[in-house]
């Protein structure tokens, strides 16, 4: 069976969930061979093996943290040359897409980004994408070279499938471009203790109707009662009520959780572009005419300052 390279997104050896989802999808197309780079690369092996990696190629070097993107492209290229895979899968983060694009160009291959599903086809992997603010679903494939495909978080359920996960050192020689862009400082974002927005199973978002930074506490309380991530519309972010890293929409994050709760969000096309693929959509808005209600499985026309705290209390009661 053909091998499929899976780029591992990890933090000091802790594998992030989208990578485990990729391993599940990779098994539909071939035998997953994981590539883990940087500090703690070797520590990823157990988790990767448990989820189907037959082999884990690792390489640790300071370059991965000290310079932007290119060292990782060099390493993936080395892995492709070592393995001759049927495809390369990369998580669809901002950095993942840049890595995938540069790798594809070097390989003389096409690149598909933001796939939401992947299946085997007669002419290589077939990727499903959701386009035009999720108004259309396309099926595409890479028609030249080794397919390089990035996959969005929450595109597959994580399934355990124990495999050998034999660790092998990858030999990498960095290109002249590798040290072109220096990372002169890195300030880790303070953890809120909540799930990562793009990976969360439930997202609770607030918009213009929240009407002030201090009122986001109401949204956060609901999120915490459900174990959810907090999102914000562009209007709320532009008003300075919530950080840009939490923005859901065309110019922010695109999310696809099991449940999306929009509070005080009218549902402009730019916002819908970032959340329309959510499985279950719920909205709370004073304006019965708000376009968000066209999308919902359940909507409450009402004042979020009444509805959200009552919902939070009821969720807590039901959870006991």
């Amino acid at each position: 069976m053909a091998e499929v390279l899976v780029y591992v997104d990890h933090v000091d050896g802790a594998v992030r969930k989208p990578t485990l989802e990729l391993l599940t999808l990779a098994r539909r197309v071939g035998e997953p061979v994981a590539v883990a780079l940087g500090n703690g690369a070797g520590d990823t092996a157990a988790a990767l093996a448990e989820h189907g990696a037959v082999k884990v190629l690792t390489h640790e070097a300071a370059e991965y943290a000290d310079y932007l993107v290119v060292p990782k492209v060099d390493a993936l290229q080395a892995a492709v040359e070592a393995v001759s895979p049927a495809a390369v899968l990369v998580p669809s983060s901002a950095e993942g897409k840049e890595i995938a694009a540069r790798l594809a160009l070097r390989l003389g291959s096409g690149v598909i980004t933001d796939a939401v599903d992947l299946e085997a086809g007669d002419e290589g992997p077939v990727a499903t994408q959701s386009v035009f603010a999720a108004a259309f679903t396309t099926k595409s494939r890479v028609s030249k070279g080794t397919p390089v495909i990035t996959v969005k978080p929450n595109s597959a359920a994580v399934e355990a499938a124990p495999a050998a996960g034999a660790v092998e050192a990858l030999s990498v020689s960095f290109s002249a471009q590798a040290t072109g862009t220096k990372v002169t400082s890195r300030t880790p974002r303070e953890s809120t203790g909540r799930p990562e927005l793009t990976e969360a199973a439930i997202v609770v978002s607030g918009g213009r109707g929240v009407n002030g930074a201090e009122n986001f506490a109401i949204i956060e309380a609901l999120a915490d009662s459900l174990g959810a991530a907090v999102g914000a519309s562009r209007a709320a972010v532009d008003a300075g009520w919530y950080p840009h890293t939490n923005q859901v929409g065309q110019t922010g994050k695109s999310v696809s959780p099991q449940l999306y709760i929009a509070s005080g969000i009218s549902g402009a096309i730019q916002h819908r572009a970032g959340m329309q693929t959510s499985k279950t959509i719920v909205a709370i808005n004073k304006d019965a005419e708000a376009p968000i209600f066209d999308l919902v499985d359940y909507g409450v026309v009402g004042d979020l300052f009444d509805v959200v705290p009552q919902l939070t209390e009821e969720v807590k009661t039901r959870k006991g």
Binding site: S93, R102, A135, K139, G180, T184, V301, V308, L311
Partner: protein, 262 residues
Amino acid sequence: MSLRIVVTVKYVPDATGDRHFADDLTVDRDDVDGLLSELDEYAVEQALQISENSDDDVEITVLTVGPEDAKDALRKALSMGADKAIHVEDDDLHGTDAIGTSLVLAKAIEKAGYDLVVSGMASTDGTMGVVPALLAERLGVPQVTLLSEVSVEDGTVKGRRDGDSATEQLEASLPAVVSVTDQSGEARYPSFKGIMAAKKKPVQSWDLSDLDIDEDEVGLENAYTTVDSATERPARTAGTIVKDEGEGGKQLAAFLAERKFV
């Protein structure tokens, strides 16, 4: 000293229009009005700010690849304050994918001459966000991408990248490719004076032969990816909508419980 900035921009179908596919599964551009991609306005703005903050002579060229109408995007950028424009237009470009587009842009950037390329973080139609990285790879220069802050001084570009887990400060020597996010700063509106001045600014038109690109390197037939099908997402079945009369939160909780979220 002088600094030559090339800003890449894209003419895209208006997202508030009814976007759909043509029979060949490329984006139908005839039925929806086009405009300068909103995210590229931020790139034009940052180029203008770099120019305004610089002691050097700065020349800003806006570059687009697209059909005849794409000149509208160039005019908008010129009216914001860019100095000149280049329009790459060729019938053989129809259906070109991101890899092919990056080839055309890179050749045009090299022909124009540059010290710095500034792009938006992504187009608002394809939303791939890969072209700046592809340009850096093709041009063999550093990529300093997804910046919310950017500055250029003494042949060095510096910027701040706000990632998911950390904020990074980045630095590279020119020449380089930069991309900026919508957090980099509100784009200015063209003034009446700017709009009048734009009419007199030069717009050069190049085709594939001007860029030494063969027709078999671009276009739908030669794309590196193939779209096999595009189907309209079925309309969502109408959901339940209730009016809050004091129990709205509880009713919603019951719905969430029924769906096993609670």
